[in-house]
Point group: C2
């Protein structure tokens, strides 16, 4: 595999489990099997790694949303798939999605990375707004009435539920916190 990709994979795992500031180039080097200094060839400073991580994550997430759009029919189906994305990202409660992890540690990041992070939030709520609207129209959801506000609330719910699950090292808090949300999907 591509060394750059292997580094991003290792860094993503570490960032999601322990936070971006809690892993070092030494950890990455050990994990990937090269020397610390070699990492600087791919990511000259750690900020470059942060940006690379968020950039790849945003692209992947956008793909995932497009995939949901093309394989699910009703608004409710799409929202269930969206919920499942956040749920599986937790694994057994040992890691956050990259976005939550980086939102939490945002102080380490420079402008370009922060911009990507906020772009992600905007893209997510835009997609959610449209999908909730669709669900209202096709009658597959109930309990939503203001798609834009509902979208923001949904994103906050997913991120907060992840945080609680991570704190407890268990999926249970995530499932409990999103139970009412799932109940709105026919």
């Amino acid at each position: 595999m591509d060394t750059r990709t292997a580094l991003l994979d290792s860094a993503e795992r570490a960032a999601r489990q322990r936070g971006f500031d809690a892993f070092s180039y030494a950890d990455l080097a050990r994990d990937v099997g090269i020397r610390k200094a070699s990492i600087h060839h791919h990511f000259p400073v750690k900020a470059d790694l942060a940006f690379g991580l968020i950039e790849r994550y945003c692209a992947r997430f956008a793909d995932a949303l497009r995939d949901i759009d093309s394989t699910s029919q009703t608004g409710a189906e799409k929202l269930r798939a969206y919920h499942q994305t956040y749920r599986s990202a937790l694994a057994d409660g040992s890691q956050l999605c990259l976005c939550v992890s980086m939102s939490a540690g945002r102080d380490s990041f420079a402008e370009p990375a922060l911009e990507q992070l906020n772009q992600f939030h905007e893209d997510s709520t835009a997609w959610l707004t449209q999908v909730i609207q669709q669900g209202i129209t096709d009658g597959s959801v109930s309990g939503f009435s203001a798609p834009e506000a509902d979208a923001q609330a949904t994103l906050a719910l997913m991120e907060g539920a992840q945080l609680m699950a991570r704190a407890a090292s268990s999926l249970t808090p995530f499932d409990k916190a999103t139970e009412v949300f799932l109940g709105k999907l026919a």
Copy 2:
């Protein structure tokens, strides 16, 4: 003021703005006006500081909930006050509440601190469950039907909304994400 208290104050500010691992004994020493080594007299190792921080926070939060109980009447009033607590903790969007901040960086903490953190989550949802139940009974809220699940969802919403606001350095995402919640309170 008590040196120990001054240290806790400084550490809490730093933890909420930048995360628990992102400030050092050197930062604290500069801020409080003593030498690094002196801090170890009050908190021998940094884990002691983490525990002291969470311990004080839990006690304060419990006080705040008791205060809400004694000054607010209806369930809706209490939930509005609860929401306001999380909103003002954000300041201008520059800091998280300590619980969100520490949930995010939980990997640094030892068992006693983690236990307190989970206790906080349990106490919060227990209080919310009871208040939502009251709101249903007194007719001051609408849109809630399963108090316990609603309580978990409410806590996740507050924490997630804080995270989004912090990422954007603005109160706006918090307000948007909690708009629907506030609409349920008569």
